[in-house]
Symmetry: C2
Subunit: 336 residues, 2 copies
């Protein structure tokens, strides 16, 4: 670790963030559960298996098309638990408020959080509120942690991808990140970009109930689809091949990305999941997903291969191949 | 709620904070578990009973005599679980880092957190790191959430105080708050004030193993002993009488409080617990506590009475009686 100070890209979800976690943080807090780099930890408690996770939300702006920091904080943690195959149940919420925050803004945030929790069927069981003087935080930061039981027989992990698996996504990519950035940059589109922020626990519950053997579930959040696939390729020791022409991207997101020089494959999502199942079972997954509003646009976007283990590559529209490296440098600070 | 904006005393642990929680936050996130105002929530999960809690730490300065924000974040959440009679097991840690934070400072914080976790016998099972641009946070904020099982038969709650109970504390009051404030104000004392920040789970485990019927356990953190006792008096519908001459206060804390115009009864502690047991069993508790370094100075400081339900009063050295109101106004911002 060469950096002497924390830089913005240490929070990007990309290479610098990985380095910070693996070289500075993990060695100091190490234990067998923490070592796995999944969206949630898996732990044994009182005879049962549970997933547990935490996320702090520092998104800027706090209100954006399609949601606000309150709904995002519920959706993100519900999804992190869902991506471990758990049934999200109990969340905690820690608020850090800046002196001077308008009470009406706090109320809008909490209304959205409450509604998101009710819709997802989870309870916020414990909370904490801190206030810091003006200029020592940015309006409101929210941490949510959560826990949920994992059913017997469910074993999803970034380490479980196998050659022959199909890679499925439940809809368009890049909406959340570009909704935030468009708002921040004051960009206007004829069709405005809405964040895809949503709780996926219902969709995942249907999938797990279908008894299709699910190998990997992953939320392509910070760092986007490309970074998530790279992490899975590395954790499982396999190659992943993505098909550019199969990738669903909203036209407004494509335009915004072109304008800002971004690749939608690296842009954060908050209501998407990557699903790895044996290719022969992929159609069953699509059948389940297409019945759910959050999975209506689900499709197969790639496959797991034996070639180039540890790497994800993109098969381009013109038939070329491009290596999808992990995100380096700061692309989108404070996107979640 | 008259305030149109968040003010510093909304985070004080006193009256304004209670109002914010009860009028603005609780109604929006309401559910049967959240309604109880204990240090942790109690939930049923997979057949077992668990305590779950969260706290964000925004203490300023982040390094103080007796600890730093890293050890504090572990101790605080371990203690919140212990105060519910739970056995703290798994913690999550969310870091919000300010761009420009010295890597060496982060390392000192994480080293302290790791050591505190090992000493307390808990695992940090999941983590998250966010970075915000310079000037949008203050160096480092830490959220820790935690979970732990509650043994069958243990039923401690702020609602369980009964007339005839003795009120016991495990040592001197006000050390944490005055260590922070002295450092912040640049005060020097011949005997420096050290924070009492410590994990109490070992001490509480000994107490619960003794089979003394424990009615209430409470950490007198933000708002201090007076605020904690008021909350218990209100939750249980009883009166609490405290004896001024019995209150253990370090001489340096007394001096610092006099200098700064503070009452040690309202100053935060981070390694103290209030224990309510039937008076006839109080000596057994002292016997258990006196065997532990964290309980060596334990003593009886008051009792539960039928008079003045909902209120705590102080019986002064000269024989007078003073009502201990809940903390109002901002006393000590960013003390934890």
């Amino acid at each position: 670790m060469k950096a002497q100070r924390i830089e913005l890209d240490h929070g990007s979800g990309g290479e610098a963030a990985r380095e910070l976690v693996s070289e500075i943080i993990l060695p100091r807090l190490d234990n067998p559960v923490l070592r796995f780099m999944d969206d949630s930890a898996v732990l044994e408690l009182g005879g049962g298996r549970f997933a547990m996770t935490t996320d702090s939300y520092v998104v800027d702006p706090i209100f954006f098309p399609g949601g606000n920091i309150g709904s995002l904080a519920i959706h993100g943690t519900v999804n992190d638990l869902s991506m471990q195959g758990a049934d999200p149940r109990s969340l905690t919420m820690g608020l850090i408020l800046e002196e001077g925050l308008a009470m009406d803004d706090l109320i809008r945030v909490l209304d959205a959080a409450g509604e998101a929790a009710r819709e997802a069927g989870v309870c916020v069981v414990a909370g904490d509120t801190k206030v810091v003087p003006r200029g020592h935080a940015d309006r409101v930061f929210i941490n949510t942690a959560g826990i949920g039981p994992i059913s017997v027989g469910v074993d999803v992990s970034a380490q479980n991808a196998r050659p022959g698996d199909a890679v499925i996504i439940n809809g368009c990519i890049g909406d959340h990140g570009m909704a935030i950035l468009s708002k921040r940059e004051g960009l206007d589109f004829s069709i405005p970009i809405l964040s895809d922020s949503a709780a996926l626990n219902g969709l995942i519950a249907r999938l797990l109930a279908s008894e299709v053997p699910v190998h990997v579930l992953r939320g392509p959040t910070r760092g986007g689809v490309a970074t998530a696939l790279n992490e899975i390729a590395e954790a499982s020791g396999v190659g992943i091949r993505l098909h550019e022409e199969a990738l669903p991207v909203n036209p407004s997101v494509t335009s915004a990305c072109e304008m800002l020089g971004l690749d939608p494959l690296y842009v954060a999502n908050e209501g998407k999941c990557l699903v790895f199942v044996p290719a022969v079972r992929a159609e069953e997954v699509l059948g389940v997903f297409h019945q759910d509003p959050l999975g209506r646009e689900a499709r197969i976007i790639g496959e797991v291969v034996e070639d180039h283990p540890g790497r994800a590559v993109l098969r381009t529209r013109v038939g070329g191949t491009r290596i999808l490296s992990t995100l380096t440098g700061e692309q989108l600070p404070r996107i979640c």
